[in-house]
């Protein structure tokens, strides 16, 4: 059990470091497969939604894409965003 917890601790630190340096909106993070970060906070989620809203207004979208649907580079997001923007 101790070895498993050790592995989890090591993995958590690695994941935390990625969370610290990542930029969810930068295209260079499109390769990251899991768009779920245990470290995310409510304040960030609110700010992100607010930012999306502004971006959506800029791009003429109907509304911001909720975070659940914001899986960068996935076929699903492309379909969802494509359907909304008509592109």
């Amino acid at each position: 059990m101790s070895a498993l917890i050790y592995l989890v601790a090591l993995g958590s630190v690695g994941w935390l470091v990625l969370w610290t340096i990542r930029d969810p909106k930068a295209p260079k993070w499109d390769w990251w497969p899991i768009d779920w970060w245990p470290f995310d906070t409510r304040a960030e989620a609110d700010a992100q939604m607010q930012g999306d809203q502004q971006r959506a207004e800029l791009t003429g979208r109907q509304r911001a894409v909720p975070w659940r649907e914001r899986r960068s580079n996935s076929w699903r997001t492309q379909r969802v965003v494509g359907r909304r923007t008509g592109r």
Binding site: S2, G14, T20, D23, P38, F39, R42, R55, T59
Partner: protein
Amino acid sequence: MRSLLLLVEMVALLPISLMYPFVGVLLFDWISFMNPQQISWGFASSLPWALIAFVFTMAGWILSPVEPKRIAVTPLTVMIVLFVIGITVNLPFSLAPAAYAYDAWLRTAKIFLFLIVTASLLTDKHRIDAMIWLIIISIGYYILDQGGISVITLGAHKAFGPPNSQITDNNCFAAAVLVIVPLMNYLRLQSRHALIRTGFGLAIGLSILTVLASYSRGALLGVLAVGFAFWLKSKKKVLSLVVIVTGLLVGVLFMPEKWWERMDTIRHYQHDASAESRLFIWRVAWQLFKQHPLTGVGFHATAFHYVIDMISPGGNVHDIHSIWLQILAEQGIVVFCIWLGMIAAGWVGCRRLARASRNHPEVAWAADLARMGQISILAYVVTGTFLPISSWDVFFTVLVTVGAANPIVARQLAGQATPSEGSTWRRRVRPMRPIRPISGGLGASP
């Protein structure tokens, strides 16, 4: 195997700290708080990971074109610098053997000087949260490990902290757990995910069980003090009272008969060898302070018989089990006042943060952080009264982390960007260009 995993992790993450020095801060603190190399039992255990992380961090900080190079000047960081100067001035007056005194001084000076680097790079909320997560992962490993074993053995296992650290001892480990429980609650309040919030609820329960499983009587008093402080700071008084009382009752009822016997000795402390030795070393510490009021006798000098013999010939050697008497006897009145000033600066920083964030829902996170920071400080001073953890790195990192929130909140309320928002990777986010309408076809004018 663990050695190999640690090596892979560090080799993967250290280069990142050259680009993002805050990652180096996280790695240095992880090595210091969790001591993962000490439990890797292989070639990695003998490598100087903290030194390597320090070199990478400093190189990254110096070379980084975007990180602010300004040293954070706050009452707390000024006190930290004065503390390092104070212990350096006291070093030649230490009664411990020179090499031993030098090692202890170097270890303490490194911890406190790195706090200045930490304070300077804690430039936004994201980093504050990352630091708190790191503290919880580091100590949380031992809570899961030791607390887990205690649950399996129905409380028979005595919980201990990271090997070769300031909190190895069961009493000190229990104090450490109590200090980080409020931080867990802060992240629970802030987390975006229901799964994580539930996880933290369970983790807090396991932490209390781990504290009880340390069989530390001082920690039992600490649990009561922290529980009371939680209730005092909670917004829903009735609900919190029910949760805290139920949690504590479940915890103590879970513990076996020998735990109750141990706790029962609080009432008859005059006949308990452990309590007697503690009272003895307190008396010795006070006499040593009176003999060396300005410079003290040096870090851990009471671990040597000839120092104890100066006061009480033939007495047993001990660390001074009280943060107050420890710093007073070991470093003298001047450093004691500076050390007290650090804690006071941390407390005042929390109060300022709470005041600044009041009536501002956009910085509600800071109000939570301030409340939980105050409970952490309370946990430290209550449990520390019976323990030798006067220069425990995690606690002072908590002070620095909470203190760093003040300028961030002030900037946020003033509508300014944080230095890292304006200067690090976040700067590279460009606003999306408006999509040109395509309905007009190729011949449409732009």
